[in-house]
């Protein structure tokens, strides 16, 4: 049974190297396809270079989207990582 889930998250830290690494590491625990959108750009949450290349800064909003069996859990987990990330 495949589902989809989406949420918006206000970043507590810019998606520089360390938060991006935490996000990607969290994404690897789920089977769903997970994307992060910032402005016009959308990247896979599994690719650290792509996530860093978004250039998302602290205080801005990103959109998390997941499609798959564990979509809701994946979005919840990644939102928690993004909402607590520190540089």
């Amino acid at each position: 049974m495949s589902g989809s889930s989406e949420t918006r998250v206000v970043l507590t830290a810019a998606l520089h190297a360390r938060p991006a690494g935490q996000v990607v590491q969290a994404a690897t625990r789920f089977s769903s396809e997970i994307e992060i959108s910032y402005g016009e750009r959308t990247v896979s949450a599994r690719g650290v270079l792509g996530v860093m290349a978004l250039g998302a800064t602290a205080g801005t909003t990103v959109v998390l989207r997941a499609i798959g069996d564990d979509a809701a859990e994946a979005v919840t987990a990644l939102a928690a990582v993004l909402a607590t990330a520190t540089d």
Binding site: A17, Q25, G50
Partner: protein
Amino acid sequence: MTRSVGIVLVSHSRELASGLRSLLLQVAADGVAVEAAGGTADGRLGTSYDLVVAAVKRADRGSGVVVLPDLGSSVLTARAVLADHPTPDVVLVDTPFVEGAVAAAVIAASGADLATVVAAAREAQHVRKF
């Protein structure tokens, strides 16, 4: 806490390898073992089998090591070292030197296992700079 995967940078230039190492330590501070094997043992341009062996040894904290060559004979030297010291825990990865190393270091710092760090380094093959 598990020890992070180590990273070895193999380059023709001591300065290039050590400069990239400084960059990685900046972006992925948390105790990732990044070791440089650049230039020859006496500091000239070239690659050194012995420097690569020593760097792999220093980088190995028990969770595996990814070896990233810059180009050409760095690949050959790294291959020779791995052929003489075969272990599944030390993996040579074909990827852009800077991007691959940054991706590997960031993911290694987050505590990922060897396969995940190798995948992150390979991701750089497909990512455009802009």
